[in-house]
């Protein structure tokens, strides 16, 4: 069951207040409330990639929540929505966790790559466009056909490549890619490249 859009808006406004309080006043109560709301999401996000790995999920929760505490002053509501900022922290932490192990080990960390360069360069026009994209995605995501939302979940929530998704769903790679593209078209995520 998806929360209504109004409830979502309320949640987001509240989270924004919590982060502001953490940034400006080191408000531990605000942090505790944000923890109650967001930590279970992080846990779910970790378990989506590594089902059953409860200890790893707890470690990720701790890491992400501490990052929020330490980076709250860097969050700029004008540049990104609060869930985008939180998602980025969770995604990067999960990348780095997986990166520390075996075959996927790398000297390159998520900080090297996802270094906020995107958010610092947005002009007003682009920001407006991005806000529109965000609204559209939020309102239309739950209306996607199941075969499309399923592959999106594999890629974004479970952290699988198109290839891995194809293997798990026992589909041709081309089918997975086209389902993703159909979803992106419906959500109008990738517009034509602008002439610049």
């Amino acid at each position: 069951m998806q929360p209504s859009l109004d409830k979502k808006e309320q949640d987001l406004a509240r989270w924004q207040q919590y982060i502001k309080a953490i940034a400006e006043h080191r408000d531990e109560q605000a942090f505790a409330r944000l923890f109650d709301d967001f930590a279970p999401k992080v846990k779910a996000f970790s378990l989506a990639a590594q089902p059953g790995a409860s200890m790893i999920a707890d470690e990720l929760v701790q890491e992400v929540m501490l990052k929020i505490w330490n980076k709250a002053h860097l969050y700029n509501p004008a540049k990104a929505s609060v869930t985008t900022w939180l998602y980025t922290l969770a995604r990067n932490a999960r990348i780095d966790y997986i990166r520390r192990n075996g075959r996927f080990s790398s000297e390159i960390s998520s900080d090297d790559i996802y270094n906020d360069i995107l958010d610092d360069r947005l002009d007003l026009f682009s920001l407006t466009q991005q806000k529109q994209t965000e609204q559209l995605i939020r309102s239309s995501l739950s209306e996607l056909p199941i075969d499309q939302s399923q592959v999106l979940a594999k890629v974004y929530m479970e952290g699988k490549t198109h290839q891995q998704t194809a293997a798990e769903l026992q589909l041709p790679l081309g089918t997975v890619k086209s389902r993703v593209r159909l979803a992106l078209n419906k959500l109008e995520v990738l517009l034509r490249r602008e002439a610049k």
Binding site: F31, F35, T83, I95, Y156, G159, T161, H162, K196
Partner: protein, 240 residues
């Protein structure tokens, strides 16, 4: 994948599939580094990635939460009591750095390995035309390196057994398929033989990620720098 756009200085981009995987954080780090390098030059890919990232955040908003233990909560709350220092990251400093960035400065994502300039990089000789500086090797065996080709010089005739990504940093080169300039992102599968030639005006410096061993054909193989052979099992060369 080519997007022909006469107005954009950057002509060659990662595919949308790769941008999707990048935004979801599922690409190998070496590949993600190539995309990060490309987008420092490419506004339209930046926009695409920002939009794609929103797919991730929207899904996270809808993700069914999983219960977190009270012990974990208390543990985290205890940790923040001891830690009141904001992470050292001064937004003002970064803005200053960005403002002075020109097209010839080091991409931000490469400054860990190239803090100052390409001149100061520790280059290793491969051929009279080609120098290489290995940045790192992944757990998967993929290699990340800078390659410098002298003005007018060519990379040896070479084919390779698996995928390779090149992002031009300075200068330009061309091969049978096109002419590539700073910011261009060039993906090659393992199938084709190609011979990139740097244009005559200046040295060409690129970021390269190679998944598999480079198999040099022709007499260049005798000059092969041991650096390239490191960790790559070299197949027996025909005729050698």
């Amino acid at each position: 994948m080519k997007h022909k756009n006469p107005h954009s200085p950057v002509l060659y981009h990662p595919s949308d599939d790769q941008l999707t995987e990048y935004s979801a954080g599922v690409l190998a780090m070496s590949r993600a580094l190539c995309i990060a390098t490309h987008i420092e030059h490419c506004h339209s890919c930046q926009q695409r990635i920002i939009s794609l990232r929103q797919l991730g955040s929207a899904q996270l908003e809808n993700l069914a939460p999983q219960k977190v233990s009270i012990d974990l909560k208390n543990s985290v709350l205890a940790k923040i009591k001891n830690n009141n220092v904001n992470e050292a990251s001064d937004p003002a400093e970064f803005v200053k750095k960005s403002a002075t960035k020109s097209s010839n400065t080091i991409p931000r994502c490469l400054t860990k390995w190239v803090p100052e300039s390409f001149e100061k990089v520790d280059w290793s000789f491969v051929t009279p035309s080609v120098s290489i500086s290995e940045l790192c090797t992944e757990g998967s065996g993929a290699k990340v390196a800078l390659v410098k080709v002298k003005a007018g010089g060519s990379m040896a005739h070479h084919s390779h057994t698996s995928e390779e990504i090149t992002v031009i940093l300075e200068g330009s080169f061309s091969d049978e398929d096109g002419c590539y300039r700073p910011g261009d992102y060039v993906f090659r599968d393992g199938v084709h033989d190609h011979k990139p030639i740097a244009t005559n005006d200046q040295d060409c410096i690129c970021l390269i990620v190679m998944d598999g061993p480079i198999q040099l054909t022709g007499w260049f193989s005798r000059l092969l720098n041991p650096l390239l052979r490191l960790n790559h099992k070299m197949p027996a060369l025909a005729g050698s």
